[in-house]
């Protein structure tokens, strides 16, 4: 099921929600959240927003308007995730 969840994320058109994953996997949203947490922990996903660190941002008067809408966490497939999926032929290893 974890590999299937990973394949679903890799194949989703753009952004998918926990609700989408839960529906596709036939589980509750809470379990879908746990699946994603496991994929994050195993290094198949990473927090996409961690990288949005701009040097010298704090001195900008507009820096408070930076940042994602409140409470949003965005997770993205990693190279490791792609590689692992490629082993079962789910996606091409290059993406």
């Amino acid at each position: 099921m974890l590999r299937r969840a990973l394949a679903l994320i890799a194949g989703c058109q753009g952004v998918c929600s926990y609700d989408d994953l839960a529906r596709e996997l036939g589980v509750s949203q809470a379990l879908a959240e746990q699946l994603v947490a496991d994929l994050l922990r195993s290094g198949c996903l990473r927090m996409a927003t961690d990288e949005c660190a701009v040097e010298g941002c704090t001195s900008c008067p507009l820096h408070t308007s930076c940042g994602l809408p409140g409470g949003v966490r965005l997770l993205q497939l990693t190279d490791k995730g792609r590689r692992w999926l490629a082993r079962t032929g789910e996606i091409d290893a290059r993406g």
Binding site: L2, A5, I9, C12, D19, L21, L31, G67, R73, Q76
Partner: protein, 671 residues
């Protein structure tokens, strides 16, 4: 029993469970005043123990830290697992939140794999009904092979049954331990192969097969222990095997999730809920591919309507008091002073930067609305639904989130594109980000639409924003189709729960954005106002003869195609420094700082509605401000792409301006 283990008749019980399952409530109910609170050895995590008696049996309880699994991926999980593995409690009680059973069953699966004496508590049974779930405890007990006790710990319901079940397990009054959940065949084959690499008589402090599974999961603690136990050659072989099968965790954990889903289906029936929670009902509309977009357009329309119906009257009063009133007072105070000095202060400072400040109430409403929607949890839905919409029209690249920042200012939208990992998608994001209608542009739109369109101001503003977004989508589509052919990147988005707004957070966010605007007005806009004043006053006594007048008249033939005279062209050009400068420049040129001259009234005298709507269209699409261009240069590391952005936006803005003017004239707005 395990009488020997329990020691002098005391049954040692470990309470395990995920956070927020009511484990501590149960522990408090069981142990009452007999608790001892300290820390786990060498850790800062609280350790709670306590005792109680049931009949002639004494129990010693340990409240383990909350953990979702036995993966030891957090300090809490590490402590909980170490206690179970090393202290060998007589019974482990897994406390589950029955209303979130599916999520909690993963831990039960791992406890069953470990083969510990287990009792499962289904807590919070009182709220399961309201969720449209019906939990069949007997079916669950049959599926798990261990006692299952329904409970409402807050009311003490099920405590007696729990103690009975624990006692029975501890004293071996129930059947032997159930077999662990079956792992997928592929995992079993891997475990068998790995087992063959270990000496048959290898002494381990935990079940051998469980340890092999953990090794395949990449468990650092077990791997470390194994490394110390095995010879270097032995470990090298194991390590090579593990590296070769580093993705085994997908099958192992995936197998557990399959088991969880199956067990859940056996034990739980979903019924139609009488009352679906409000947040869930809202999401059915707000995250729907079509309904969500329509809702977003409606929300935007409501914001604009509020801006104009509440903000514009206040802005006009401020204009009378701050700009016209201050100019009057200044002229009286400086009576006899050189005319140039009075003009500099009245026209350059008050008529320029001061006028821009009168738009603070309108922006306050915009920022307050955005902060409120963000705190409610709506903005995340809006971002989510916009992404889906963009995909429906064939857009590639996950650029919606940085673009979303562009509503406040284009600069963070451009800088925020760093989260887009593919270069082609990132470039697309950067190049279209200046088409987002930033707050600076919205101020200009607010001035013109309120002056020319009265009650229809909100509708015109909304239409302009929609046109910008449509052009943004079109531009991104063209770039992706003909310039970049980037690959897809997929995301999982965690949407925050809806909650009542925290007014302190909302007001702080509003104030921080307003303060940034005020700082901008007091620095860059003031500086440009003074430069514009100087260019409009030298050389010669009339503005038409000034440097600004000459530049403007040189470009007037282009402006005529859009019904704009040289003054409007000059105002547009100064927006290159900051979009709000358009207002400051018009204030200086049209002499807003001169007594009772109202800018809105002045504008209606120097241009017709067709020209006004063309001007708004051009302003919304005109070349990015200098800060945005600097950001584009920095992020693309290319003057070519920076120049391309200026070029395409100039062409689009002028083309749309000319078309808008000509169409508006045909509609009778040319008089």
């Amino acid at each position: 029993m395990t009488a020997s283990k329990a020691g002098e008749g005391t049954v040692r019980v470990a309470l395990a469970g995920s956070p927020n399952t009511g484990k501590s409530t149960l522990f408090n109910f069981l142990t009452g005043l007999s608790q001892h609170v300290g820390n786990w050895p060498g850790k800062t995590v609280e350790r709670k123990t306590g005792t109680c008696r049931h009949g002639d049996t004494a129990f010693f309880f340990v409240d383990l830290p909350g953990s979702y699994s036995l993966s030891a991926s957090s300090l809490e999980e590490e402590i909980a697992r170490a206690y179970i593995l090393q202290e060998h409690p007589d019974v482990v009680v897994a406390v589950l939140d029955a209303s979130s059973l599916e999520r909690n069953l993963y831990l039960v699966c791992e406890l069953l794999e470990l083969g510990v004496p287990l009792v499962v508590v289904l807590n919070m049974m009182d709220i399961v009904e309201g969720q449209g779930l019906q939990v069949d405890c007997r079916a669950l007990q049959s599926a798990l092979g261990v006692p299952v006790v329904p409970m409402v710990a807050t009311r003490g319901e099920g405590i007696f049954e729990l103690l009975e079940a624990v006692r029975a397990i501890a004293f071996n009054e129930v059947r032997p331990l159930p077999p662990p959940p079956a792992a997928p065949a592929a995992v079993q084959a891997l475990v068998d192969s790995l087992d063959g690499l270990l000496p048959p008589d290898l002494a381990l402090p935990y079940p051998r097969r469980w340890a092999l599974v953990k090794l395949l999961e990449g468990d650092g603690a077990i791997a470390g222990a194994m490394r110390k136990t095995l010879s270097s050659n032995g470990w090298r072989a194991v390590d090579s095997f593990l590296r070769l099968h580093e993705d085994a965790i997908l099958e192992i954990a995936g197998g557990r999730y399959e088991w969880v889903a199956q067990t859940f289906r056996r034990a739980v029936q979903r019924r139609r809920r009488e009352k679906v929670p409000l947040g869930e009902r809202a999401d059915r509309i707000l995250t729907h591919p079509l309904g969500g977009v329509l809702a977003l357009l409606g929300v935007m329309a409501a914001i604009f309507w509020t801006m104009f119906s509440l903000g514009t009257p206040v802005q006009r009063r401020l204009d009378e008091w701050l700009v016209q009133g201050s100019a009057d007072r200044l002229e009286s105070a400086l009576e006899g002073a050189p005319d140039r000095l009075v003009s500099l202060l009245a026209d350059g400072v008050i008529g320029g930067a001061g006028l821009v400040l009168t738009f603070v109430p309108i922006l306050a409403i915009l920022f307050l609305a955005l902060a409120l929607l963000e705190d409610l949890g709506y903005m995340a839905r809006a971002a989510f639904v916009m992404d889906r919409f963009m995909h429906r029209i064939g857009l590639r690249g996950k650029s919606f989130l940085p673009l979303f920042l562009g509503f406040g200012c284009n600069v963070p939208a451009i800088l925020g594109s760093r989260i887009v990992e593919s270069r082609s998608a990132r470039l697309t994001t950067i190049l279209v980000a200046p088409l987002m209608p930033c707050a600076g542009r919205m101020v200009v739109v607010a001035l013109f639409t309120a002056a020319f369109f009265g009650r229809a101001a909100a509708l015109v503003s909304w239409s302009m924003v929609t046109i910008n977004l449509a052009l943004l989508a079109l531009m991104a589509l063209l770039l992706n189709r003909f310039v970049f052919r980037g690959e897809e990147a997929a995301f999982v988005m965690e949407l925050p729960r809806y909650h009542a707004p925290n007014w302190r957070t909302v007001l702080m966010a509003t104030w921080q954005r307003l303060r940034a605007f005020i700082v901008l007005a007091g620095t860059a806009i003031l500086a440009v106002s003074l430069v514009v004043w100087a260019l409009s006053n030298f050389p010669g006594d009339h503005i038409e003869d000034s440097v600004l007048g000459m530049i403007g008249r040189g470009l007037e033939p282009l402006g005529r195609l859009m019904g704009l005279d040289w003054q409007m062209i000059v105002a547009l050009m100064t927006s290159f420094v900051a979009k709000e400068n358009t207002i400051a420049t018009l204030g200086v040129i049209l002499g807003t700082g001169k007594g009772d001259v109202d800018l809105s009234a002045q504008l209606t005298q120097v241009m017709v509605p067709a020209a006004a709507v063309a001007f708004i269209a051009v302003q919304m699409l005109f070349v990015p401000c200098v800060a945005s261009l600097a950001a584009i240069r920095r992020e693309t590391q290319s003057w070519r792409w920076t120049g391309f952005t200026v070029g395409y936006m100039l062409v689009i803005s002028l083309a749309v301006g000319i078309i808008t003017y000509q169409v508006a004239r045909l509609m009778g707005w040319g008089v």
